[in-house]
């Protein structure tokens, strides 16, 4: 890969060990994918995880004097203060997240601690070149917004944020953004959970690729698209998709394929969605917790939880959790949704991912969730996957099905 004089000097360590390591990473990726050069990016999202590998890299950057050259947001770890008031958290357990948070602050990342920053504090515009990691974030900014990013790992996105550049390959080129699979949707997509099932089913069918959806006639909501994005990357690795008529980059199916529309297609009817649901839903019976907000619930979803819980009480043996962004939690508090959920016995927590060690009290428990991604990474033993309203009903009764 060609490097400018300045980029060479960064790689030689003239700007410190932090920038050198970030550049080394970008050069390795550029070489692997035969990129010719680095191109400027305007923003990044690092899927920080609060695990040891993540901590090592961000501390190395911080100690090496690096800081973000473009706005770079962070993924959730967990809200230690909130958990500490409920569970016992040992000093040892608290050490990694504390150090991770400190190091991201030191490198001047935007401390969003949210997996959906693309609807709150880190929103690219059409055509922007960016570096976004995180399963729902990559396809959302590529498909819904029409910005350009590869499917980054947490550290490659962070390195891009530090240098302000990324190797030019893959989805930074228009010709690589064309559809690979035609998906004809005959199912009636009624709610957010139907988009979850659609994403899950299609990812299982294609694994990797750029699906083009036809047959969707109603405007999808933000929440429906977030679920589609996340689930396309749970059993699969889908960096982008097109819904001609709704997503921005292709007006027609032909545009989406940049020419020839393939003859083969995947057809999704109500039957496929029903069978997918039967396959993933899990066994009926007693539940110990409900875990919502993977990806982080939007304000609208928090409001819906408050509405579904109105006049009800969560069963005394059930813990009820809603994970959301700090922004949505603040507004939920202002709008009274937070107190409604708390009055019913539920928790709303910001800055927190469902896949963190803080959930260890639930390791032998059965949990209900509306997210197959949550179930995949779960920190509890048995999982039930079903619609939000069923999760709320199960929380009230203490059992499901």
């Amino acid at each position: 890969m060609y490097l400018t004089k300045e980029e060479e000097r960064i790689l030689d360590g003239e700007f410190g060990e932090g920038m050198r390591k970030a550049m080394e990473l970008l050069v390795a990726i550029g070489d692997a994918y035969d990129a010719e050069k680095l191109i400027p990016i305007t923003r990044a999202h690092a899927a920080s995880s609060g695990q040891e590998g993540d901590m090592y890299f961000v501390e190395l950057l911080a100690k090496g004097g690096a800081s973000c050259r473009v706005p770079t947001t962070t993924n959730p770890v967990y809200d230690m203060e909130y958990f500490h008031s409920i569970f016992e958290i040992s000093e040892e357990e608290a050490e990694v997240p504390r150090r991770v948070k400190k190091a991201y602050k030191q490198i001047d990342a935007i401390l969003s601690w949210s997996c959906t920053p693309y609807i709150t504090e880190n929103i690219p515009l059409y055509g922007e070149h960016v570096a976004f990691s995180e399963s729902s974030a990559t396809p959302y900014v590529n498909s819904v917004i029409g910005a350009r990013t590869n499917r980054e790992a947490a550290q490659s996105a962070l390195a891009a944020g530090i240098i302000g550049k990324t190797p030019e390959y893959g989805l930074h080129f228009k010709e690589n953004r064309k559809g690979t699979h035609l998906v004809k949707v005959e199912a009636d997509l009624k709610d957010e959970f139907d988009y979850t099932l659609l994403g899950y089913y299609v990812a299982k069918q294609i694994g990797y690729g750029i699906p083009v959806f036809t047959g969707i006639s109603k405007q999808p909501s933000t929440e429906q698209l977030i679920n589609l994005c996340a689930m396309l990357n749970t059993p699969g690795a889908v960096p982008m998709f097109h819904i001609p008529g709704f997503t921005v980059e292709a007006k027609t199916v032909k545009d989406a394929f940049q020419g020839d529309v393939p003859e083969d297609k995947i057809t999704v009817t109500d039957d496929e969605l029903k069978r997918t649901y039967e396959e993933i839903r899990g066994a009926s019976g007693k539940i110990d917790l409900v875990m919502l907000g993977c990806p982080h619930y939007t304000l609208k979803q928090v409001e819906e939880v408050a509405r579904l819980l109105r006049g009800k009480k969560i069963h005394r043996d059930v813990s009820f959790w809603v994970c959301t962004s700090a922004t949505a939690k603040l507004l939920a508090e202002r709008n009274g949704y937070l107190s409604e959920i708390e009055r019913a016995g539920g928790h709303v927590v910001a800055d927190t991912c469902i896949d963190e060690p803080c959930w260890h009290p639930y390791k032998d428990k059965t949990g209900a969730t509306d997210s197959p991604k949550c179930a995949y990474y779960r920190r509890f033993k048995e999982a039930v996957i079903t619609r939000l309203k069923d999760c709320v009903e199960a929380a009230v009764k203490g059992e499901w099905g």
Binding site: E24, I29, D31, S49, G53, Y56, F57, Q155
Partner: protein, 140 residues
């Protein structure tokens, strides 16, 4: 053929030098599914289950699993001094590259001959990623 030495060109992804006994895996590897203290693969049903990657030159088709776990897995092996000395792969992807950079393990691909034909478990292999060279010393 014992002691026969063959040098092949390769494509550097992560620089550095590493040498050791070759360990071949025909299946992708997830470093999270190894014992972080010993480097022994504990993935059920994996062809290398029970074998250790520690200080080997590992030849495998590609990595697998999510970025968080793969990076953490290789990093822990490296911190405990039981990571592979170098890695030769067929298909690279971003997660494996990042893992190798963070763990400081040399990583190469595009050997001029199919590594699965030319290298066998037990051969001694020197990987000079910086010079784009792999030297194989046959064990039999």
């Amino acid at each position: 053929m014992r002691g026969l030495e063959v040098t092949l060109k390769c494509h550097k992804i992560v620089g550095g030098y590493g040498e050791g006994e070759a360990l071949i895996s025909h299946e992708p590897i997830c470093f999270y599914l190894t014992n972080p203290k010993t480097g022994i693969i504990r993935e059920k049903g994996h062809e290398l289950e029970g074998k250790s990657v520690a200080n080997k030159v590992l030849i495998f088709p590609s990595g697998k699993a999510s970025s968080v776990v793969q990076i953490d897995g290789l990093f822990k092996l490296a911190s405990n001094g039981v990571a592979p000395k170098a890695m030769i792969v067929k298909d690279v992807e971003t997660v494996l590259i990042v893992s190798a950079v963070i763990a400081n393990v040399p990583l190469v691909d595009r050997l001029e001959k199919d590594p699965f034909h030319i290298i066998h478990t037990g051969d001694f292999v020197k990987v000079n990623a910086d010079e784009g060279k792999v030297t194989v010393i046959k064990s039999s």
